[in-house]
Symmetry: C2
Subunit: 533 residues, 2 copies
């Protein structure tokens, strides 16, 4: 149904239109020494949209961006859909081969690439039969590929407003390729309706308004920045762009720009908490931190709160537009001891206001009891579940079996109905027939004062089948031995859950800060013919 | 489209379901010495829905409620749609004849009536052929009509949860009969989708969250309480019910229940500002007041802010689910002098985030210039414009002519794009060919220190056709003469805009606090054959 008196298709394009009307002179985007007002933001978006149309982009075409959290990446979130096209924001940590796969699978007609990342495209440039236009974004580097420069491309467009091209709110607005740890990435389709509702959901859950300033520590190529690209714009707040998550720079910007909100994986929080400036930093206003990806340990939550942050813990997947659940806070918990509050908050909680339904079920899709003990798979449905995988109807049907999206995450349900993740299905350790939650073991090890970061995986064991092994990064200047860590666990956990081995060093990570457990597992399971996921 | 993996019809029924799941032990509703938790609230709603089904209510049937802001009125906002039916909440200030018209036009099968209002039904009970079930709500009065008592009716239901009956989000959820000043009332239809989006819009604009406490000074029968019935529930906040807007009791509840939000027409604010307790009252937390209906004068805004309230000024009509626009605040205005801030805030502003479009147009539906001077009619479209008038396709088509809803309100557009109402189309005074905005004259008179309330209308004049006359209520113990008021205006306004007559006394008002200008006009224009609207 197109526009009628009493029906407008829901689309995030309405958000920028309104904020540019209401707050034309207000700072919309800050990046280094540049400040764009909402009027300029909209003008640049109009130029991007018309420039894209000028090179032949039409309704439903795909337009790819490969760049960090700089203004063009934000502009793409409005300019590409305003042109009627579908945004493909590509993870900048991927290999040329993976990027080629995504560009070819999505048949992107246009690619805008930050010139610092040109080396990722150069070797594959001639393997991209669908790509018609290449646009170079000069930011830190100024030697591009054969193609037009981004500002010149914008100049080829017009800042005359375009009508919203959305006829059906269930049309796709973006495709986000999952960084699948095995197999080829799948293209998760978001719709205008889902993006609109989820963006407002974010605004409601974290309390954004026109006085907010949002720092871009979460990659925009990750679930379209959990839809904050659209949500921050909806309320007329200010975006602070950030090319690279450097803790020193993050602290500087929080103070200089009076940041009120940011999102990040626990690894981002860990890097802040353990930075020397954490000892002296003073946030100029309350900092609302939204975290997810892996459950933050109670230790990290307590440390961030001590710094003056308020943590909102959310959980979701690329397939749910980012967060689907939130550990919704109860006023009655305000006065609990810090440790107990952190334990409450480490849970993944309940669905967002706009997210409708979430269950934890057994193999027969029956709800598990709310006993904080029985493991089941988290399943979801509602307006913020993806439209499906682009051109993969079988994978979509498999993910949607039984009328619900299957997350592949294992959780328990507490007596109060809040869920708590125990593991990815593929991460759980089965030792002598007993399940061991790697998260439970990790949260225990995080309490050790010398530990900065930890990942626990299953390793092969002749007697038990699998046993836990911990990979630990120590805090700078701190010491601990494997025996100490194991002993620390034995004082706090059932013995069968304690790691049988501990290895120290850096942890391999994805671009969004998730620890790549599969890499650790591959190494440990070489020569075995099972359990490499 | 019914429930799918990635599509749920938008409906406010989702809000209560979620809040009862997330906050079962939290206080949902306070009324006198009663406190209902969200679990009890949901149980009572389930019982109401199943009881309605038990007496034969089925999909699309109309169920009417005639009662003040007491818990059953709130329960009706969920229980009636949960039964698949459509809520008709009737204005309790109407006459028996008007109520009969509404019950018969809507063909309501069930009527729940507060026993203090039984006298309104008694004389018409036998003129209601469609009414099958009458339910008596005993609150202050315990002598009902022939029919079951409300609590017994609930007991006849079951608290087993019902599935959401919404197949299409564009189905009606309620019909609100406009208190038309002439002619028969028209039944404004709201949809599940519109109610959902508008409720979230309210939450966003006034900053409601789970820590909020909302006082029911706005009638729930008025635009379903501007959708706050659903919005306050969405975030798990607490409803404080209020049978009657008595300033003394309002002050008491603000303090005792730590109220954070309320809504009300300026007359409600006037009664608070001028109450003796205003001199000593201390709000225990910031009080967010949302006001509309008539533009509040700068004087009233300044006085409320001095009391410790923060005012949000909104504007809309029954046909737009209540508020459609908001005077969205700019941080840059924070430091303006109080008087200038109040003048900014007295404007009706810009569309809500969820409200999409609003224009001010001339007779040819061309936008008027943004010059703060040229009058035009306010027109709107978007998801919070009504579905239409119930069984009045011609009136609907007339209101929707040209693809926009025509408000009948006259406004100017300021250079910053904010609109400011000048008058109802039918209220504007045309004197010697010049337009006079009654609102402008009223705002001037409000600045007079002795004036509590004022209404300005056109009266006949042999020379000029029409001239302004002011009806003034003075503050208790204060004095002023007609000459003083006129002189006060002449010092501040063009002389042709100043009232030629001033009359002192009480002003006639509607149940929502709007001054009934048509009654004043009828009196003044008796014997004339024009301009009685």
């Amino acid at each position: 149904m197109p526009q009628e008196v009493n029906y407008t298709p829901l689309t995030p394009l309405s958000f920028l239109r309104r904020s540019a009307y209401v707050y034309p002179e207000k700072t919309a985007v800050v990046y280094r020494d540049r400040h764009y007002t909402y009027r300029e933001f909209q003008q640049r978006v109009n130029r991007l949209a018309t420039a894209l149309q000028g090179v032949g982009v039409s309704k439903g075409d795909r337009v790819a961006f490969l760049c960090p959290n700089i203004p063009p990446m934000l502009e793409a979130h409005f300019g590409v859909p305003l042109a009627g096209a579908i945004l493909v924001a590509i993870n900048i940590r991927l290999s040329p081969d993976e990027i080629a796969y995504i560009l070819n699978h999505s048949e992107a007609k246009v690619l805008c690439v930050d010139s610092e990342l040109a080396h990722l495209i150069r070797p594959i440039r001639h393997q991209l039969p669908h790509l018609q236009t290449l646009v170079n974004i000069f930011d830190t580097a100024h030697e591009g590929l054969a193609g037009i420069e981004y500002e010149a491309f914008l100049a080829s467009g017009s800042d005359t407003p375009l009508p919203k091209p959305v006829e059906d709110e269930n049309e796709p607005i973006s495709i986000n390729y999952t960084s699948g740890t095995t197999g080829r990435p799948k293209g998760v389709m978001y719709t205008h309706r889902g993006a609109y509702l989820n963006a407002l959901g974010e605004v409601l859950e974290v309390g954004l308004n026109h006085r907010s300033t949002y720092l871009w520590t979460l990659p925009m190529f990750h679930c379209n920045g959990w839809c904050f690209t659209w949500g921050v714009t909806a309320v007329g707040a200010t975006h602070v762009c950030l090319r690279r998550v450097d803790p020193e720079e993050v602290f500087r910007l929080i103070e200089a720009e009076k940041v009120s909100h940011l999102c990040g994986a626990p690894t981002v929080l860990i890097s802040l908490v353990n930075h020397p400036r954490a000892k002296t930093a003073k946030f100029p206003r309350k900092l609302h931190v939204t975290t997810a990806a892996a459950p933050p340990s109670p230790t990290i939550i307590a440390a961030m709160e001590a710094l003056g942050a308020e943590i909102t813990h959310v959980y979701g997947l690329t397939e749910t537009y980012g967060p689907h659940s939130v550990c919704a806070w109860h006023e009655a918990w305000d006065d609990l001891p810090a440790e107990e509050r952190a334990r409450k908050k480490a849970r993944q909680g309940v669905p967002y206001i706009v997210a409708e339904e979430m269950r934890v079920v057994d193999e027969q899709m029956q709800d598990v009891p709310a006993d904080a003990a029985t493991l089941g798979e988290v399943i979801m449905r509602g307006n913020n579940v993806m439209k499906g995988y682009f051109r993969q109807p079988e994978a979509t049907a498999e993910a949607f079996r039984g009328g619900w999206f299957h997350s592949g995450d294992l959780a328990v349900v507490h007596p109060d109905g809040y869920i708590e993740l125990r593991d990815r299905k593929k991460d759980i350790i089965i030792s002598g027939g007993e399940n061991i939650s790697t998260i439970e073991v990790e949260n225990t090890i995080y309490q050790h004062p010398a530990v900065q970061e930890v990942a626990v995986i299953a390793i092969p064991d002749e007697k038990w089948g699998e046993v836990p092994k911990a990979f630990v990064t120590l805090k700078p200047g701190m010491q601990a031995t494997a025996e100490e860590i194991i002993q620390f666990c034995r004082e706090r956990l059932a013995h069968f859950k304690c790691p049988k081995a501990v290895e120290f060093g850096e942890l391999p990570k994805t671009s969004t800060g998730k620890i790549k457990k599969f890499e650790l597992r591959e190494r440990e399971w070489q020569g075995y013919d099972k359990r490499i996921h």
